[in-house]
């Protein structure tokens, strides 16, 4: 009864094959990260010092302060309030397309709109607004997805008790969607930190000895700084660009792990 048939054997073989295949793919993913990190630490570790960290540029994530409230609010409207008609469908389509626009196009838009038209000049404000527009669609899409993952039955049960839409959103929908929304924001935090193109023309400079005094000042951004140091300036000590890259990656990793820890805390409280 329990003797292995040829079919059993071949099923088992295929199952083992796929397991190994998927495992290899996962390994392939981790490998570059490990190699990059080792390289950076090996080559750039020597320039790291407290002094280096404080004279190296920092990138403000002002952009997300702008795009997250707008994006989350827009997503709540689209998912919870708007009727499903051709107009909202066109808006949704536009948002998805906006997410696919290359960052250099956003940069040129930022120059045209914020630097020149609104006369912000190349400044933190212009750069942040450009980054905000770039991150907006992703924030909207991620928020909308996690709102829609909350079962309809929860909303209906709450509406049936006489709750308004907003009461339902605040008490039932948002508490259950928050960890998904945060995931989207986390992705954007690291993306804005690393982006070079959108800020290159709108607000970042390669080097300034002063910290910015206000939102209309220019600022140094690690990513741009790295780009220039590595490609444009002759005679830089070899380990300097690696050191800058190490700081950049370190910051991204730090922010990511903080957000992931926060998300895990929220998810542990998730209720279903």
């Amino acid at each position: 009864m329990f003797t292995e048939t040829a079919l059993n054997a071949s099923n088992k073989k295929v199952q083992r094959l796929f397991r190994i295949l998927f495992m290899l793919m996962t390994g392939l993913l981790i490998l570059p990260v490990l190699i990059i990190l080792t390289m950076l630490v090996y080559k750039g570790g020597s320039v790291l010092s407290i002094d280096f960290l404080f004279t190296s540029p920092t990138d403000g994530n002002v952009a997300l302060l702008i795009s997250v409230p707008i994006g989350v609010a827009a997503a709540i409207y689209l998912s919870e309030y708007a009727a499903d008609n051709w107009f909202t469908r066109i808006i949704n389509l536009a948002i998805i397309n906006l997410a696919g626009v290359p960052s250099i196009v956003h940069a040129l838009f930022g120059v045209g709109a914020f630097v020149i038209f609104f006369r912000f000049g190349t400044s933190i404000l212009a750069a942040s607004l450009t980054l905000a527009i770039m991150t907006l669609p992703v924030v909207i899409v991620a928020t909308r997805e996690s709102l829609q993952a909350v079962p309809m039955a929860f909303r209906e049960a709450c509406w049936n008790m006489g709750a308004t839409r907003w009461q339902t959103i605040r008490r039932v929908v948002l508490p259950n969607a928050i960890s998904g929304i945060l995931t989207g924001i986390i992705l954007e935090v690291s993306r804005t930190t690393g982006e070079t193109a959108p800020i290159m023309f709108t607000g970042a400079v390669f080097f300034t000895p002063f910290l910015p005094q206000g939102i209309f000042d220019q600022t140094m951004a690690l990513s741009l700084h790295l780009f220039v140091v590595a490609t444009q300036v002759p005679g830089v000590p070899e380990n300097l660009p690696f050191g800058v890259a190490l700081v950049l990656i370190g910051m991204v990793l730090l922010m990511n792990s903080l957000s992931i820890a926060f998300r895990m805390y929220l998810r542990a409280r998730k209720k279903w």
């Binding site: 509406w159 008490r171 039932v172």
Partner: protein
């Protein structure tokens, strides 16, 4: 279509000489209700009334329009853009179609669905949600409401030690009683139960049925069920829906003892189809 719906059942059997049916106040009057989903007619030409403090049974096979009927009563049609209805429905004498404040209407009607919906929050918060929506935030007051509603839904003894655990972690039958407790926490005038016993074991079903008989003193109950015998046990009057029409309305006992006007009703009650 309209002719098959009978407006009044009192011709079948008078409830008692001293209290003619007309003297009992009506909580709900439905006149010529039609419900459509796109081109599909879910319910056509239904006219009936529900009296205060009665259990009004609605029986019929699947697709008869029973659930659609409930959905219109508390304006759940607003959640489904494809759902259209026309007709005249009065709740306590007020026309509900033109009602601006649907939230007040819904808060007066408790609903229990076939499958329990334990909201993703603690047992306590599940039951305290409706009072909180009404603006009650006093802990002591909420405690009293929560205990009373859970007790009346025959659940208090089982959950009193774990009010802080998740409502969605309770068993199916417990969750359904939690749903009933939540509906009761609204302090409803009308309680609508849509095949509540589908996900509940027979013993719990019996306990809930006992609870419903008690609740009748305080509120009106509309009981949609596909268990003919459950309607017989509980309902004062029963309506038989079939294929989007209300075939017959009558005193429950009368229907079950053969005083029917339509042969289809007898066939259904005797289990010959459906």
């Amino acid at each position: 279509m309209v002719t098959t719906a009978s407006t009044d059942s009192s011709s079948g059997k008078q409830p008692g000489a001293s209290t003619p049916a007309n003297a009992v106040p009506r909580i709900l009057e439905v006149n010529n209700l039609n419900i459509r989903y796109g081109d599909h007619v879910a319910l056509g030409g239904v006219s009936l009334e529900v009296r205060q403090h009665e259990i009004f049974g609605v029986i019929g096979p699947a697709n008869a329009g029973k659930t659609s009927f409930l959905k219109v009563l508390n304006r759940m049609d607003m959640f489904n853009p494809a759902m259209r209805w026309e007709g005249d429905i009065r709740f306590n004498g007020r026309e509900i179609r033109r009602l601006k404040n649907v939230y007040a209407l819904r808060s007066r009607i408790g609903v229990v669905f076939p499958l329990p919906v334990g909201l993703p929050m603690t047992v306590y918060n599940n039951v305290a949600l409706a009072p909180r929506l009404r603006g009650i935030n006093d802990k002591a007051e909420l405690d009293v409401i929560v205990e009373r509603c859970l007790a009346r839904a025959a659940l208090w003894d089982e959950v009193k030690d774990r009010l802080d655990s998740l409502g969605s972690l309770l068993s199916g039958g417990q969750q359904q009683r939690l749903t009933i407790a939540r509906a009761l926490s609204q302090n409803p005038e009308l309680l609508m139960l849509d095949e509540f016993s589908i996900a509940v074991d027979p013993v719990t079903t019996m306990r809930i049925e006992d609870v419903l008989k008690e609740l009748k003193k305080e509120m009106t109950i509309i009981l949609v069920t596909n268990l003919v015998q459950q309607a017989r046990r509980l309902a004062d009057r029963t309506a038989f829906f079939l294929d989007g029409q209300c075939v017959e309305i009558g005193e429950t006992e009368g229907l079950f003892t053969g005083q029917v006007k339509d042969p289809r009703t007898r066939d259904y009650l005797e289990g010959r189809f459906g």
